[in-house]
Assembly symmetry: C2
Homo-oligomer: 467 residues x 2
Amino acid sequence: MKYSFLLLFILLSSSIFSQTDEEVVKKIYAQSLTNGKSYDWLNHLSNQIGSRLSGSLGAEKAVVYTKDELDKLGLDKVWLQPVMVPRWIRGSKEFAFIETEPGKTTNVNICALGGSVSTPALGLKASVVEVKNFEELEKLGKENVEGKIVFYNRPMQADLIHTFEAYGGCVNQRYQGALEASKYGAIGVIVRSMNLRLDDLPHTGSMSYGDLPVEKRIPSAAISTNDAELLSAMLKLDNTTKLYFKQSCKQLKDVQSYNVIGEITGSEFPNEYMVVGGHLDSWDLGDGSHDDGAGVVQSMDVLRLLKESGIKPKRSIRVVLFMNEENGLRGGNKYAEISKQKGENHVFALESDSGGFTPRGFSFDCNDASFNQVLSWQPLFKPYLIHYFEKGHSGADVGPLKTESNVLAGLVPDSQRYFDHHHASNDTFDAINKRELELGAATMTSLVYLFDKYGINPISNPEKIKN
Amino acid sequence: MKYSFLLLFILLSSSIFSQTDEEVVKKIYAQSLTNGKSYDWLNHLSNQIGSRLSGSLGAEKAVVYTKDELDKLGLDKVWLQPVMVPRWIRGSKEFAFIETEPGKTTNVNICALGGSVSTPALGLKASVVEVKNFEELEKLGKENVEGKIVFYNRPMQADLIHTFEAYGGCVNQRYQGALEASKYGAIGVIVRSMNLRLDDLPHTGSMSYGDLPVEKRIPSAAISTNDAELLSAMLKLDNTTKLYFKQSCKQLKDVQSYNVIGEITGSEFPNEYMVVGGHLDSWDLGDGSHDDGAGVVQSMDVLRLLKESGIKPKRSIRVVLFMNEENGLRGGNKYAEISKQKGENHVFALESDSGGFTPRGFSFDCNDASFNQVLSWQPLFKPYLIHYFEKGHSGADVGPLKTESNVLAGLVPDSQRYFDHHHASNDTFDAINKRELELGAATMTSLVYLFDKYGINPISNPEKIKN
């Protein structure tokens, strides 16, 4: 199977791209590395605006700023697409300590999870039961959990090379931990931060109570990995150890916000749409430089780089800066809903939402014919050290655009450092390297260029192979 | 040509490695990521010892520490190999300013280049001529250069993907700049730091006066990229702008130092040697975490990981921690000299001296048969995102071991951030990511395992393909 794949690749590779393509791709990379705008834009977004949680002032400013910047690019259209978004606020800074006996306390670093309810105004103190997963929780049962704080402490698996896989293996503790614990009468939840590194920073992220009635909802917070280790060690010494925590977050009413959209209208197939995007909102602890300021500015630069490189797309290329990926996906859903209403044919959508580190390639959600088409382009990317072309997840925001025949893709940057910063207060501009960001923008632009030039599924449309 | 290569690859790939190899490689990566020692060792080397310029106390401590740590690993032999090394000291911190008119000055960040002479005790002030290369200098000639400071300001080329190539395109300014400028009567040299980023840190590095008599040697310093831009802009406004600089570095007498060597003696071919190494010395501005603390601890961990993974090498595997790569290469030359004297057959040598970032692959200095052998192993490395297997430079320290039939290799990590830190005060432990370092150690160990198991040149020794 592997060999037949390779043979197919060899057979196709001479016909699917031309020397012109090599030159265009080279020009795109050179433009991005010598004359890119992504880093300057991100500097503004991160350092002048800062965090951009849905419904916040930062999010609103980011909408205005990015629309203004897209306006300056001389695109064919730039507009705001209204979308109602949830508004959750953290309130005053959380506080927590471990208490081994009355008055003997050790402060620990926590942060409320997005969507969580507050603790009582004076905080919450209770004994702690540590579990690694929901099965352990079930085994403990109501008699061991009721009235206690459940501490989920399953670490990310260090020997997985793809750190997103390690994240996927842990994140149910954060997302459903409170819902599960509440079934057994727990009064609060503390979750080990989704971080491969041992450090002092708590990592927030979304959680859900499902259909749980409001009065049954229990507060849920993340604890730093160092403090998770500490709490676990102290519980082993003395299982009557208590934890106190206090948080004053709340869910407010939905507010009006926007997706920001810019378009270069296609010269030959204006009704075939290709989307490139990232999400404008971020969590509130850092400035969201990696998640997902990087994806926003790279996507903006894709359209600029196409123009700067003298490429006139055949298809309509849109940059979509989605609102509310982090805690609702309202922007992604709204964009797909409106597209469907208008009968727009989205043939391709690419998201950058895995950080701004050195790009390694793409992950594709598409049929075999399109995937083979992509594989035939691999040699074009080799000089830029882009080697990862695999089937897999594309991106949360573009996901709702999925059809049987279109191509969804996600940029895959190097992920080793990503979870050091993800949803934490150190997701900041200083953790961004200019060249890495620019290489990502160029890599995205090159893929957009190729799909625009050759179209989708040339293997099922053989006449397109020939050009 | 490319296709026949690929076909060869397909034909070979089923016979050159086995399922066992996949399992062993998996085990090596898991060991490194869950139970690696490289990060702890580097923490000590960087934070407890610090910079390790040849002949310094730090270098001496590093010899003692790494020998002690190798002693603990239960290798078959650990020893110190004496080597005399140059000793250059920086003296008190350098000072420099731009003067547009008497009393109107702007301080700039400089550092003496390694090997440079000092300025006069009160410093040096002169007009400045800016050039981009030696051709421009030659055109200016003695009449425009005599009595002045030559300012080399050719930046690293941003659109080169391989940053080492961009470095190679600039470094003659630093290495030979003083020698060339002195031919035209210049009295000092200022070189733009070899840094792709604009920032305030000057980057040191070696320079040479060649055969220039001592009395003709002129002081040479690096200036930060931001200050290089500033100086250039001020010279454009007013070409009578002067620069003052003061440095008190000097070259002392050679001192005794050591290469640190550990060995696992081969079970079948003890007289075939395979070396893995990095260099113990560093520049003096940071703590040398990337250059080359990373390579040192990764190389040490190769031998430990082989042992931990239950691998008993057929050939003798040596870790060699070379002294004095930065300003003399005495350690690398000494090791090769002694090996030659003893008639040791070095079939393989791998150096890690390109930083501790995410490994991408290897660069090989070897014949085609060996290179094809390596290419046949590519699929084994794919799950670990190791994709770069190209012919090219191996490493400065292992270079002198080159023969017609052996294999020299260099680990190729992601290089985008490397020159942000290279030879500067921010080459420090906080710029190291634990997982990236550990992935490098595992990647090196896997290659050593494969070459040990299959030997060198199985294509010219076909009976070895079969096992």
